[in-house]
Amino acid sequence: MSFQKTITLKVNGVNYTRTVEPRLLLSDFIREDLLLTGTHVGCEHGICGACTITFNGDSIRSCLTLAVQADGAEITTVEGMGSQENMSKIQQKFQEHHALQCGFCTPGMLATCEDMVKKYPLTSEDEIRDGLSGNLCRCTGYQHIVDAVQAVVKEDKRDVS
């Protein structure tokens, strides 16, 4: 419409240059312009966490971010975490522990879990639940998600020692 802005960013290791409206949400840019539909949109007001992605190393809400704010950024979406044939550790643990049912919140959950496993010791279940509290899941009651995260933490500790 009015004026457009050109942005350059790296998503899942691929460089993109695109011209976008300043009002375009990053979630819509990822889904509609880059056709990376693994990032889901659940509320568009920053509560549900389904659209969570990794942005310059931190988990953020892509529905509360404009595409123009991602100029120069490095982004990982769920498509960049692992493939069906070669899932990441957290993805594998999600399957083993049945930490997903409908799968709609899952890409955002995975981004949050990756971030918290990387940044925090997660020594207690309460700490894990606190970390998950920004992502809503309507199917699982969270217990199996907590179990999956605990399993990752346990393995990481073993790998270190």
């Binding site: 279940e125 920004g134 217990q143």
Partner: protein, 787 residues
């Protein structure tokens, strides 16, 4: 024979795609040239439409066209949910509001544009003039015969009226030892599936064929309805529910937006998509549980229930929802109110009342979360007056193991299920007696510590003898499986049921693989597609595991007969000497074997390998069978919860939660546990947080996820599960439905536990959800008893 797959914790087949962003939900499907709809929706709850100005919207950049009801009404028949019930009044619903609006959020104008952004820009330019009509928001007022009517052509706002009576209630209430009389309120909630409703219609002009991709639980119902309403032959219409992001009942009904995308795709000869946003989801997806229940119970000195009475008003919102009708929730409140208890004298009456709010519909549990809440509160109130432990009072009144089948007061027949066993198992697992000691110590310290029990039963896997919704004239009692082996030896099993998180791709593959004696990896499941089988409805009412597995068993049996005949010829021996194991046919008497692949190749491709007459008889290697469990079966459970209310913040902290349930044969325990956890989490939401709040003008006040509180990981405790090993039910697979159970039991258990915690203050719960504000009011009432 021991099972290889059934009963095993098989990892789900659907997970790798869903975990890697390769799921395919409706909004992930992009068809070249697709157009997008945005709606202008009513901001009045009840008003006449005087004028609609779409001029500016039509000129907005990217807009293809703008539609009001008069532009589309000639292309479809309005939506009318029929019922066989006496005293039922159907409502007439148009796609876009015609002449007047009946709830805030009702669609009035549809803008079709090249992008969602352009469509929303244009929708913002639409101006509608209204003439306000009286608000019809209080169901008690709306139920009065002189109240203003929401639908002028009807006799009143009462869409459904029904009674159940048994025994001599007058006599039962004649000076009983205990007589509890209380008014209960379960406030309106909504499903909140994480994926908002989304529809995409693709019309192929060259083939004159339309495909609707719908985030629905019931592709079969939607196909049948669209065929009727839009007059499209079924062979020109296919409804696909691809990956669906949760349903919980909210995606079991036919919606105006769903009809409109199909209508416009045909009219414009372009793919047309509508993806709901969360505001639209919260205000227009069918809501639930809006019930006002006046109930009375009479109990003798031994704690035996003498009689039960209830007068229920269900606020069903603006329309009688298609296909379930306005009766689905309120009528089932009184049909299930007696619960798993022996109650000989019962008198209940319900009215489903139209109000100027969003229509209500099925939600996980349907009727039973309310009925269980009321019945379980009544038992606790009575046991308190008798100074009897609530567990003991339940044990005295439950249908005992030797008393099945038992006909409940409303006419429901319970087949044998672990009512008593469930109560005992849950109490044992949570160390009930020790917990009571712990509570005594906590009370001595002035803490508000409560224990709550709820015991309940439900009918699941219902067959053709009972409609899934009272009086509804569509068949919800059968499911079909069609299993075929092609010329390469590959197995495809097609089902009419549809998964939206239940993992049916995995559990149905377990059943098929078990009964064909092949590897689960060799079975491909197709479901959620109206083309899969000739008739189906979909997934709701805890039916798909029971009905789907039953149909799979019948189809595999028929297919095995064919395979054995062929194998006997190819292996050169009588059929009784042939057996199949892990995808290979063996001859008991020789060392000859044959893979399923080799059998299929020989059968289809090697001319002369099978006598022509036999080939004519067998046809292709497929079998299609329909299963009807007739009356269905009984599922039951007991929940026990321990919680504490913080004296200062009044926050409820759940410390222990146990579910003991009888779901018969588990196909996949991993999936069963996930369903229980998720169901309980939704029940906790209903008990403590979730409420669609409407003001007296019919404005939705909780129309964002900041205001409508869905519990997060910090609000949900660890939930322990005891699976009961009781006699298997008469369903073909031994499966009892269990998808809704968690949500049925949790509100009652928590209401009882909060009441128990507040007992030292002489306060108790009659209303849900028990938000911090409502707990605050109870605590205040205790401090200022006069006010």
């Amino acid at each position: 024979m021991t099972n290889k797959y059934i009963g095993s914790r098989v990892k789900r087949k659907e997970d790798p795609r869903l975990l890697t962003g390769n799921g395919r939900y409706v909004d992930d499907i992009k068809i070249v040239g697709q157009l997008h709809i945005a709606f202008y929706r009513s901001d009045h709850s009840h008003a006449r439409i005087c004028n609609i100005d779409t001029q500016a919207a039509k000129c907005s950049p990217g807009v293809i066209d703008v539609f009001t009801e008069k532009d589309i009404c000639e292309y479809y028949s309005p939506v009318i949910a029929q019922s066989r019930m006496k005293n039922y009044q159907a409502t007439v619903m148009s796609i876009l509001a015609k002449d007047k609006v009946r709830y805030v959020g009702e669609p009035i104008v549809a803008v079709v544009a090249e992008s969602r952004y352009a469509a929303e820009d244009a929708a913002a330019l639409i101006a509608v003039d209204y003439e306000a009509l009286p608000f019809i928001t209080d169901p008690k007022v709306a139920a009065q015969l002189n109240a203003p009517k929401l639908h002028e052509e009807l006799d009143s706002n009462i869409l459904v009226e029904r009674s159940f009576r048994r025994g001599d209630v007058e006599q039962a209430f004649w000076k009983p030892q205990v007589h509890i009389k209380e008014q209960f309120r379960f406030n309106r909630k909504t499903s909140v599936a994480m994926e908002n409703r989304t529809y995409l219609a693709n019309y192929d002009c060259t083939l004159n064929h339309l495909t609707l991709y719908s985030s629905t639980q019931v592709p079969g119902i939607i196909k049948d309805a669209l065929s009727d309403l839009l007059n499209i032959p079924g062979n020109e219409l296919r409804v696909i529910a691809p990956d669906v992001g949760g349903g919980f009942g909210g995606k079991t009904s036919l919606y105006p937006e769903e009809i409109l995308v199909v209508l416009l795709a045909r009219k414009l000869k372009k793919p047309v998509k509508w993806a709901s946003d969360r505001l639209e989801d919260l205000t227009t997806t069918s809501q639930a549980f809006d019930e006002l229940i006046d109930a009375e119970i009479a109990v003798d000195a031994d704690g035996k229930i003498l009689g039960l009475k209830a007068e229920v008003i269900g606020d069903v919102g603006a329309y009688s929802i298609y296909p379930w009708t306005a009766g689905i929730e309120p009528v089932q409140v009184i049909s299930f109110l007696p619960g798993p208890y022996k109650i000989e004298n019962y008198d209940a009456h319900v009215r489903a009342v139209a109000t100027s709010k969003s229509p209500t519909g099925p939600y996980r549990g349907v009727g039973r979360p309310c009925s269980t809440f009321v019945m379980e509160r009544l038992i606790d109130l009575a046991s308190e007056q008798l100074d009897m432990d609530p567990k003991e009072m339940r044990l005295k009144n439950l249908v005992q193991p030797d008393e099945f089948p038992y006909k409940a007061a409303s006419g429901i027949v319970w087949d044998k299920s672990g009512f008593v066993e469930g109560l005992n198992a849950a109490c044992d697992a949570i160390n009930y007696d020790e917990l009571r000691d712990q509570q005594a110590r906590a009370r001595d310290e002035g803490r508000l510590f409560g224990i709550g029990i709820s015991t309940f039963a439900e009918l699941t896997g219902i067959g053709s003898r009972i409609s899934a919704s009272p009086g509804m004239p569509i068949n919800t009692g059968t499911e079909t499986a069609s299993i075929s082996i092609d010329s390469t030896g590959s197995i495809v099993a097609r089902f009419g049921v549809a998964s939206h998180g239940q993992g049916l791709e995995t559990s149905l593959a377990q059943v098929v693989a078990e009964h064909l004696n092949v590897s689960i990896d060799s079975v491909r499941i197709i479901h959620g597609d109206s083309d899969a089988v000739a008739h189906s409805t979909g997934t709701y009412a805890s039916r798909s595991a029971a009905l789907g597995s039953g149909a799979a068993i019948l189809a595999t049996r028929a297919l095995n007969v064919k395979l054995l005949k062929i194998a006997s010829i190819l292996l050169g021996d009588e059929e009784e000497n042939i057996f199949i194991q892990d995808g290979f046919f063996f001859n008991k008497n020789t060392d000859k074997s044959l893979s399923l692949k080799a059998l299929a190749k020989a059968y289809y491709s090697q001319m002369g390998s099978i006598p022509a007459e036999l080939k004519e008889e067998i046809g292709d290697l497929s079998a299609t069978k329909t299963y009807d469990p007739l009356w269905g079966t009984t599922s039951s459970a007991t929940h026990v919860v321990a919680l504490e209310i913080d004296r200062i913040s009044l926050k409820v902290k759940i410390s222990k939660y146990i579910v003991a349930e009888d779901c018969g044969q588990m196909i996949n325990p991993l999936i069963v546990e996930g369903q229980v956890h998720g169901g309980v989490a939704q029940g906790i939401g209903a008990a403590l947080f979730e409420e669609m709040v409407y003001d007296e003008q019919g404005q939705a006040l909780s129309a964002s996820l900041a205001d409508y509180i869905v519990p997060a990981a910090t609000e949900i405790p660890r939930i322990d599960i005891e699976h009961l090993d009781v006699e298997l039910p008469p369903t073909l697979s031994g499966v009892r439905g269990m998808g809704e159970s968690g949500t049925i039991g949790a509100p009652a258990a928590i209401a009882n536990a909060i009441s128990d915690a507040l007992a030292p203050l002489d306060q108790y719960v009659t209303e849900l959800p028990m938000t911090p504000e409502r707990i605050f009011r109870l605590v205040q009432a205790a401090q200022n008893p006069s006010s």
